[in-house]
Amino acid sequence: MARLSVVGDTNDSASDRLAARLVAEEDRGLLRFLTCGSVDDGKSTLIGRLLYDSQLVFEDQLKNVQKESKRPNSTMGAEIDLSLLVDGLQAEREQGITIDVAYRYFATPRRKFIVADTPGHVQYTRNMATGASNCDFGVLLIDARQGVLTQTRRHACILSLLGIKKVALAVNKMDLIDFDQERFQAIVDDFTAFAEPLGFESIEAIPVSALKGDNVTAPSAHMHWYHGPTLLGHLETVEVSRSRDKDPFRFPVQWVNRPHLDFRGVSGTVAGGRIAPGDEVVIHPSGKRVHVARIVTADGDLDVAQEGDAVTLTFAEEVDASRGDVITTPDSEPSVADQLASKIIWFDEEAMLPGRNYTIRCGTQSATATVSSLKYKLNVDNLDHVAGKTLEMNEVGLCNLSMTKPLVFDPYGDNPETGSFILIDRFTNATVAAGMVEFGLRRATNVKWQELSVDKSSRAGLKGQKPCVLWFTGLSGSGKSTIANALEKRLHALGRHTYMLDGDNIRHGLNKDLGFTDADRVENIRRVAEAARLFVDAGLIVMVSFISPFRSERRMARDLVGEGEFIEIYVDTPLEVCEARDPKGLYRKARAGLIKNFTGIDSSYERPESPELDLNTSELTPEVLAERVLEELRRRDVV
């Protein structure tokens, strides 16, 4: 600040004043923080108060908010509703809640701030986790009248999971409990006891009233018993170290930069550590070693690149590096494995199902991943580990994942950039989970693939046929097995080698241990799909007759075999017809409530979007339909 005034005294041109201001700004750090806590504890009002008291609200914005504060459904009476400064969506204003995370920018002479205003509503916990993943500090709000609630604990838990080390506990609405010190202390004690195992480095408890402004930016005149900092004062001075400069070097390749024949570089952002020309590096997963030749940027070559720098590296040796590769130094190798253990926060309304395929995105890498097992769920109320088969929306669990190819990663605690991932549903494209890697699983490197000397094509060649899976899907009683039976008889008569996997039969043996919950259904299909894959490998024409109600698993089965080897046959019989036929009497039992999770009754069936064949059973006999499948096989040169 001293420098600023000296320059200001001696120069008065705008560019000199700007130069002085930029020098002064360079000394100010940046704090990214989020506000979280339960619904109605006043987060939006608190941020509105911070902006308003820091004189960062423009006159025209203030005028709009003043106008809106007078609307009939406003809870504020004559006072100005500061939450309207931040709740920008119509639905938020109508319901008086925050739905989505909003980012706000403000600065004081001491610091710049990016604040993520995150929702408190349980239904939008994923948005809170989103905000937390991009912050270094958390302000956890508590309504002084309510005390510590489940959602407070859940949010504290997520802050800790996401690696936030320091938090402020802002006990809000102190004006509504007469600024009662004992009540404040009781809440603080309650929270501190709960949070102990979460391992926060510091918890600064501050009694505030966002509405009235007590202890937000100015010390309160109502709480003489409190001698700590104001919330803004704490935000301005709290130290959060974010630099990963001294960490091992990590460089995920984003883009191969090859504008002309004489230049070949890899572009990306340094995710940890530093690198200089001449340094030896390892390219994962290939493990090739090369030396950095240049660090190229549009502003000229750099002598050193460090964490956060977006650069392009060129190498002294010819090497093949592509998007998804991770470049490190030889002294600190990352994990390269196709199985890992990870904490997962489940985001989607549809529960996580072990065995289902999801797309995993880890840094610039993508692969197909399945959750192979859920080790435990975390009870966010008391941090207990609970057994479970699935994760519902907003639940946190420790899972083992297996991927279709090895990924390069680090434990999240070592580097959040290379240790975090998201899971994406392959049909809806929704982001269904966020993951924080604990460690790679050793068995991934110990179980090796045994190369066989006789392969699929030689086995099939001996039989003179093209192996494939004929996947019959449809409701119970639709006629899948009847058609498949008729078809197998025809193929057998033609001298073809076949096998039939029937849902009921497999449940007598291989899948005897499985029930009919969604999770068990997924596992049921996973096993039969693997079995079908082995039979195709053996050179057979395999008929699979399974209800297989979910698109995801049918897609997984398709992905297990080669291109053109999976023929999806939708046996399209309306529910009323199946129910009228009721060959096994199951619909009657389901309607009577004797069978749970029955497809078509209380469990859903997702019809195929583009099956290779769509068989309408209402007009044609099973024999005619089997003949139609045979025609299709002839058309495809299978027989």
Partner: protein, 302 residues
Amino acid sequence: MKQVLSSYLRQLEAESIYIMREVAAEFRNPVMLYSIGKDSAVLLHLAMKAFYPGKPPFPLLHVDTTWKFKEMIAFRDAEAKRLGVDLMVHINEEGVRNGISPITHGSALHTDIMKTEALKQAFAKYGFDAAFGGARRDEEKSRAKERIYSFRNASHNWDPKRQRPELWHLANTKVNPGESMRVFPLSNWTELDVWTYIYLEDIPVVPLYFAKERPVVERDGTLIMVDDDRLPLEEGETPQMRKVRFRTLGCYPLTGAIESEATTLPEIIEELVASRHSERQGRVIDHDQVGSMEKKKQEGYF
């Protein structure tokens, strides 16, 4: 002598470059929307840096409403030539044939047909699956809620309740055929960051940002510049020469000028720091009604 970028601006720059490279790598047919304003200028400058020594692997697209200031169009063509990048211009020809104008049809219909509709036409015509835009979260309340990757369904609609969570730097870039993504690499920049960056990086901007004597008329408290003879003067209106400049550039009869003495970038920045009014105060389209920006966005506006 000018200073180098502050560590904060370097960080913003690197984040934006990261986003651009992700989009170039993950999408089949991305495009950069170029609207000629200060944010577009920064966006284009960053794109040149992101792929250096190569050129940005996507074209620029200007959706021309035919009501842009003359100086903007001249600047646009000069910049594309200077940087050697592909510039495409799309105009809603049907709107032109129907004589859609902000004066006779009002700001809302004009914006809808000549901007939103025109943009959808361009997406359909060229099959873009991602488009960069220069929007910033500090511009407007509903923009503060926007993700960096803003998913649009096949009808280009934005559903604020179905936004994809953005964790760490991980983007879910999956779109099905017909769907698309609007991507905002400047999300975390503020108006002040943009101007400071323009100053420190010597980025050319349209001269309309600098104060100069210009012919204006005052309407409902807004100073409208008379850019050509298409603006019918109302009774008793005579254009007056006043020293004005623009804080934001849209279509000329819809964007108000401000009286100003700022003729250099440091003066603009100084004026901005002292201002008690928001950037978009002069934008007529924001004030049609409460939440109007959000409604426009849901229908496919940027």
